[in-house]
Amino acid sequence: MTREDDAMMDAPQINNPKPEELFNVNYLRIYYGNLFPYTDIHKWLSYGHDGKHPGCDEYYFGRREFSFTLENDVYLRYKSFKTASAMEDAIKSHFPYKIDIGAVYSVDPDKRHAYSQTGTNVFTPVERELVFDIDITDYDDVRYCCSGADVCSKCWPLMTVAIKVIHTSLTEDFGFKHILWVFSGRRGVHCWVCDPKARRMTNEQRSAVAEYFRVYKGNENNARKVALMGYSLHPFLARSYVDYLKGFFEGELQATQSIFSSREKYEKILEMISDEDIQSELREKWENSARSSLSEEAISLVRWEQLKNTLQSKKHKAPILRMCVEEIVFTFTYPRIDLEVSKQMNHLLKAPFCVHPKTGRVCVPIDPYNCDEFDPLAVPTLSQLIEEINSGGSRMDVDDDDSDGSLLGKSIKFFRSSFLEPLLKLCKEEIESSYKTKIAKSKDSFSW
């Protein structure tokens, strides 16, 4: 059961190529045959357990769950592979539309039934990256350019801000260093936190981190979606507000969404002010303002200033108004994470470098430090990659260091240099030091 099923109808795509031109089994065959980075995925999910060091756990990769979604929605769960080539063979023989990565289990997932007979080895998840899933569809009430699964350059910046807020907290607050951000192929981003400490967290600890990020509590039956209590923002929220949210709200968001420009739009914001006098004062002002020659964006900005001034002057009227300005900014801009995905170790998440069947776009990594430059509509599509191969413009062998020029080569190179190499360096050190401790311990016990 995936959370994707909540997506309702796909809005019709205008002027776009037909779906089968973006994505079909023949294209997929070529992609999995020539371009999918099997070795890199295997290296990543082995976390240094490559069999070269005596302290390695050579069964580590083999206990990882993979799941395939095939054509016609046939769903294969609990697949596992001993080696990189076993994984490659399975992918090449099934051509999965989607590959999901699950947890590392106590026993080989593929043989879980055999183990359950013996009764001693319980089949249970033991390690899992801390993951986050953010979907633009959850922002439908605050974007006016698209809805549902569509995204454009006007609403994508909401994702960019989400990446900045969460990434900063993961590094500054939680001290994580090995974080991978991936475009989900159509309408959102995924985040994989891979530090050893993160992978070993219990479900309770995962929930705690997820809840730390929860601000948005709104549902369809309450207009005040963000309730900030207290006399100050928690330092994490204060930093997010000052460094990212406020500037984005007053700048880019106003420019692209003009969230106060029409009655329909501003009424939604007035509802967030829990004071009817202030509501009607502002409403009156805005309804009577003569149609000026100002642009939508300028009108929107003027009204935001009026709202701020009014609230500032009435701040002391009621404690509930104290944080009202901040609440509005958070409602529109703070990341809306699908927290359930983060809370459970055994939740599946789509693998990087999969191809999204609806858009044909590859799930490429995103550089969190340059995420402003990321354009979801410029991500290479399957058909572009095939064309590149056919025209001979691409070196087929992506393992070559000189793969920078090809469409996918740049993403793979980024994956290796910014994520994989530092991660494996740490893993090797960790294996080495725990091996030394183990040796030292066994020596100790001999000497007694």
């Binding site: 001290g175 006399y231 809306r336």
Partner: protein, 454 residues
């Protein structure tokens, strides 16, 4: 612990450093009379049940402190401190036996014992509290000097964010890996920097409770192993029957099987939704009829409830299909949604027969954008709740009573008052479960129309 039939007890009360709040690290070596074995356990169960009720009613920590204090005085206190301590320890270890025997039981016992410990700890003074921290052997050092000075501003921000006007920070802070205080992290009650949480002296309870819980959780697994391998068989004529009886007598019904009153079919579903569904379910039901769709949380909450009231799998599939196909088409329904309905009925996946959600679970859920599940008394704005109650037919006076409970966060009491207003009769047990609401309502309606065909 040795259970004996004789009248005499030899209290071999070996050194316990903290006389008031034991940590239950090791089972006591003493003899216990069989009658006390059972009686003490029953007394402790009353306390745990009271804790469970208090939490279900949404009491805040302060109120829970009082609840625990009263419960303890009523059921466990003894003028002789050493007698009380023995009773405390014996009853705890007996209940470990009782509640180690299934995951469901373990989970309940673990949360209730942890809650009990939390509030008993909070009732102690700071000196005793520090003593207990010492007993756990927690290696945390207090933050001092320049490091503390450098953090003062941010620590003050945390204090103010929790609703205190002055940014006066605690005198003592401990630097702790954030993983060890999950509850403080989840509620943003601590400053976190580079993987470390700064825990105030007044928040020590969180640190200790995490330790307590982890320790008890492990111990229960071991107890379970001992129980299944030796004790159960060895004690089959003596302790086993007592232990088995104790666990069933106090855990309420889980409504996974529909009761005698409940057996509904597709043709009466609209009728009973109107007459007997609690507000949370009625709202989901109406939304489904209007929108022909519900998001995941709503499908789970309503779907399992309907299973509990006796909607058979085939009828359930037909019911959901009729609505969803209007929006997504029957092909997509069969592909994407039918599976999870069969899953709820234990026909797919792990094949667990899932139980309907209790009020506690629904109240603590967190509906997000586009969601309609959750508890209306907790998750609706005041205006929306008033409108919904109006549709239930509440008078303005009845409504004010309900709103009063809502403002004090007594969501289940608010629901109980709604029940009483709708059916014009009292409901002393209180509402703890949507399916209980349904059954009570059916009982009342059936008694009013005895001639109705069943």
């Amino acid at each position: 612990m040795e259970v004996i039939r004789s009248q005499k007890r030899t209290p071999t009360n070996d050194t316990v450093s903290n006389p008031k709040l034991p940590l239950y690290f090791t089972a006591p070596t003493m003899e216990v009379r069989l009658e006390e074995f059972e009686l003490f356990a029953v007394h402790r169960l009353r306390v745990l049940k009271g804790v469970s009720d208090g939490l279900a009613r949404g009491r805040n920590p302060k109120e829970m402190d009082e609840t625990v204090d009263t419960l303890w005085r009523d059921h466990m206190r003894d003028p002789d401190a050493s007698v009380m301590l023995n009773k405390d320890i014996i009853s705890h270890f007996v209940l470990r036996l009782v509640y180690c025997r299934s995951d469901e039981l373990k989970k309940w016992f673990l949360s209730m014992e942890t809650a009990l410990f939390r509030h008993r700890f909070r009732l102690e003074n700071f000196q005793t509290q520090r003593g207990i921290v010492g007993e756990f052997g927690l290696p945390y050092k207090a933050v001092t000097g320049a490091e503390l000075e450098g953090l003062k501003e941010k620590l003050g921000q945390v204090v103010r964010s929790l609703g205190q006007i002055s940014p006066n920070v605690d005198a003592v802070y401990y630097k702790v890996p954030f993983e060890e205080v999950p509850d403080l992290v989840a509620t943003r009650r601590v400053l976190i920097q580079k993987g470390y949480a700064f825990v105030a002296g007044s928040q020590l309870v969180s640190l200790v409770v995490t330790q307590f819980r982890a320790h008890l959780s492990k111990a229960l697994i071991l107890t379970n192993r001992k129980w299944t391998t030796t004790i159960q068989e060895r004690e089959k004529d003596r302790l086993t029957p007592i232990v088995e009886a104790l666990s069933t007598s106090y855990v309420g019904p889980d409504y996974s099987q529909s009761s005698e009153f409940a057996e509904i079919t597709l043709k009466d579903i609209d009728q009973v939704a109107k007459t007997s569904f609690p507000l949370c379910m009625r709202h989901l039901f109406d939304k489904l009829r209007d929108d022909h769709h519900l998001k995941h949380g709503g499908r789970m909450q309503l779907g399992l409830f309907l299973k509990g009231v006796g909607l058979k799998l085939d009828d359930a599939l037909a019911f959901w299909r009729a609505e969803f196909t209007k929006k997504v088409g029957s092909e997509r329904f069969d592909k994407e949604y039918a599976y999870s309905i069969r899953h709820n009925y234990g026909k797919e996946g792990k094949r667990t027969d899932y139980t309907p959600y209790s009020c506690q679970k629904i109240i603590s859920s967190a509906p997000g954008a586009g969601d309609h599940h959750g508890c209306p008394y907790r998750h609706f704005s005041e205006d929306n709740l008033r409108a919904a109650l109006g549709r239930m037919g509440l008078s303005s006076r009845g409504m004010e009573d309900v709103m009063d409970k809502v403002r004090n966060k007594h969501y289940q009491l608010a629901c109980t008052l709604t029940f009483e207003a709708v059916y014009g009769t009292s409901c002393d047990a209180g509402i703890n479960h949507p399916n209980q609401y349904f059954e009570e309502s059916q009982k009342i309606l059936k008694s009013k129309t005895p001639s109705a065909p069943v």
